[in-house]
Symmetry: C2
Subunit: 117 residues, 2 copies
């Protein structure tokens, strides 16, 4: 069964809501920053943050729901990992809008040059 | 007077909160998408959105407060423009985290190759 493009767009749109929402908080960006240097336990993620463990776990849940981070519990330790493909989707959305703006500027420049001739 | 790095970091951090927050809403992303193709009036921005004009103006305010968009009123028309430097700051933050993840992966690969030898 092929999924209609309209549905895929809705799913992507919802993902972008969650990913940008997750990145809109400084503590969660600190966690993503730490995970960009490799997997970490919840304790390691909490170390630079001035907050309770439940608060850290709440932020972790937001990051996991957005798809930016996954965690796995082995024994008593929960290890968190960054999901670079999700991070790339958010980056790509911005890059595409910036590219649109730049090509628009290029067209304007070309137009002005043609006007000058 | 030189601004201390700590203060600059706080300002950037606050900007990132506002920019990612602004991008976490589908209607606001639709507005940014439209503006990536060139300046637009509020009426043009509102056209594809199913919402009241006050709601559109509220979203525009969030975009302006984040620095992603600026608007200027000339006569009776308010014209909105994308601020690509702000967009680039948000993109760069993500790109740097992804780059960190990739270089970490490279180091792991190198380590495994050296182990194999």
């Amino acid at each position: 069964m092929r999924v209609p493009a309209r549905i895929l767009r809705q799913v992507l749109n919802h993902s972008l809501d969650l990913m940008f929402g997750a990145l809109s908080d400084g503590s969660r960006r600190t966690m993503v920053d730490r995970l960009s240097r490799g997997p970490a336990s919840v304790k390691e993620l909490a170390a630079p943050l001035k907050m309770s463990l439940p608060a850290v776990l709440q932020h972790l849940r937001v990051l996991e729901e957005s798809g930016l981070v996954r965690s796995e519990k082995v024994g008593r330790v929960r290890t968190c990992r960054l999901q670079p493909a999700a991070l790339q989707a958010a980056e790509q959305w911005i890059a595409d809008r910036r590219a649109g703006w730049v090509s628009n500027l290029d067209r304007l420049e070309q137009f002005l040059q043609e006007e000058d001739q």
